[in-house]
């Protein structure tokens, strides 16, 4: 992947919504196990 595209991914606010939900999901999993 070219750097401008990776940089565009990281600057895309829509990218951080699923990342935040994934982290929250991992925390719930860690809590219930």
């Amino acid at each position: 992947m070219t750097n401008p595209r990776l940089s565009a991914v990281l600057k895309d606010t829509q990218f951080w919504v699923p990342v935040a939900v994934l982290v929250a999901g991992l925390l719930v999993l860690w809590w219930i196990r």
């Binding site: 992947m1 070219t2 939900v21 929250a24 999993l29």
Partner: protein
């Protein structure tokens, strides 16, 4: 971007809606093999075995349907989507593991509608991020929102009806797990929609999706089993049922492929509720084939029938509220935003939104495609040979018509998709 011809848009919407219903049938049936598993297996092992089946299916089916050369061509157009696909795979793996815990703690019948609330989240993300339902007439808006609400009410009624079978467990933990799974699955559609607005073919997307899925699942399994030796010991102890779990994963992939096409052609606000009719199919398998709820009071059956009717009614309302030209123009605006942000070829994005190819490489299969197909089949056959047939009372008289109905949907919708989009 020029507006899409009204006739073409109608045909694409029809293909998307049929894909949503077919996804429901196959995603619901994916639960059937997992019911054959002897209880007592670790949730992580169950989820990992399913993901292995998913992985094999997701590398072999796209190779068979489209060929790896077409997938490579897709990735060259929008390589950044690999990051999104891997992220979506990670979300799926964590959600699937959470559902196994939820089923263990509060039972499938309560957990299912809770995580199916993902459709409400899908509508929210679709409207906020991808212009879905913008520019839609109020009747269509009402059809989608009202349909989703009615489906949710039906799902809850089904949960109440079968709650008598819920295992005694840790209710709070189970509810938290099911709701978290719904949040993860509802959010997973952000990468799906992103990919399809940008032009990626669903068959290419799922190939990379599954890398994130298997990677995340292996990490969870290794962490939860005390390392590699612990995991191998657990898998070895479960070897005679691994086939059924992998089969569940395989059936799930067939449903998910249609779900991807639904997300592409009718958007996530309509695609997710339609594929959530999987609860009806899961219930049909449970009631008719596995004899669940047998001997319960007539009121319970009344709730089951009422809940099922509500779900079906909601799904029909959503199916009838498909996107029109005005809304599709707003989708095109969202696609143009993606194209500009990531520097994608405009012709590629336009062709994908219209369900057309871009004149890429021919669909001839290579030795790599056949190696993937034969290899995946061989692994399934090998696990099939060492599988133990569980001692379950099944109503075979119902297995045949349900399977036939699924096959009719599979080939009927597959044909419609091929005729309308050539699987683009």
């Amino acid at each position: 971007m020029d507006p899409l011809d009204a006739g073409r848009l109608r045909r694409l919407q029809l293909a998307g809606i049929a894909s949503g219903f077919t996804a429901g049938a196959w995603l619901g049936a994916a639960e059937a093999p997992t019911k054959m598993v002897t209880l007592g297996l670790s949730p992580v092992v169950i989820s990992l075995a399913m993901v292995v089946g998913v992985f094999l299916a997701r590398w072999s089916l796209p190779a068979l349907l489209r060929g790896t050369s077409a997938i490579r061509a897709d990735v060259r157009q929008a390589p950044h989507l690999i990051v999104w696909a891997v992220l979506a795979g990670c979300l799926w793996a964590v959600a699937n593991t959470l559902t196994v815990y939820a089923i263990r703690d509060i039972g499938l019948s309560i957990a299912f509608p809770l995580w199916n609330a993902n459709s409400l989240l899908g509508i929210l993300w679709g409207a906020v991020f991808f212009n879905e339902l913008r520019g839609a007439a109020w009747t269509r808006l009402l059809g989608v929102l009202g349909g989703a609400a009615v489906m949710f009410a039906g799902a809850t009624l089904l949960a109440v009806a079968s709650s008598t079978q819920a295992p005694a467990g840790h209710a709070a933990r189970g509810v938290a797990a099911a709701l978290a799974a719904g949040a993860l699955w509802g959010t997973m559609y952000i990468p799906y929609r992103k990919a399809y607005l940008s032009g990626m073919n669903p068959l290419a997307f799922v190939t990379f999706f599954t890398v994130g899925e298997l990677g995340m699942m292996l990490s969870l399994a290794l962490g939860g089993s005390g390392g590699l030796s612990g995991l191998v010991t657990q898998l070895s102890a479960a070897r005679d049922v691994l086939f059924w779990l992998m089969l569940g994963g395989f059936v799930w992939v067939l449903g998910d492929l249609f779900q991807q096409y639904a997300a592409k052609y009718v958007g996530i606000s309509r695609g997710i509720p339609l594929s959530n009719t999987n609860q009806l199919w899961g219930l049909a398998w449970g009631l008719l084939v596995f004899g669940e709820l047998r001997g319960h009071a007539a009121a319970t059956y009344g709730q089951v029938i009422g809940g099922s009717l509500l779900m079906a009614l909601g799904a029909v309302a959503i199916a009838l509220a498909s996107a029109t030209g005005a809304e599709h123009i707003r989708w095109q605006e969202a696609a143009e935003r993606e194209r500009a942000r990531y520097g994608i070829d405009p012709a590629y994005v336009r062709a994908a939104l219209a369900g057309e190819g871009t004149g890429g490489p021919s669909r001839q299969r290579t030795w790599l495609d056949w190696t993937l197909v034969v290899g995946a089949t061989a692994v399934f056959v090998a696990f099939g040979f060492i599988a133990r047939v569980p001692n379950l009372a099944l109503s075979w008289g119902w297995v045949v018509p349900l399977t036939l109905a699924m096959l009719v949907l599979l080939f009927g919708t597959g044909w419609l998709l091929w005729r309308t989009t050539r699987f683009n």
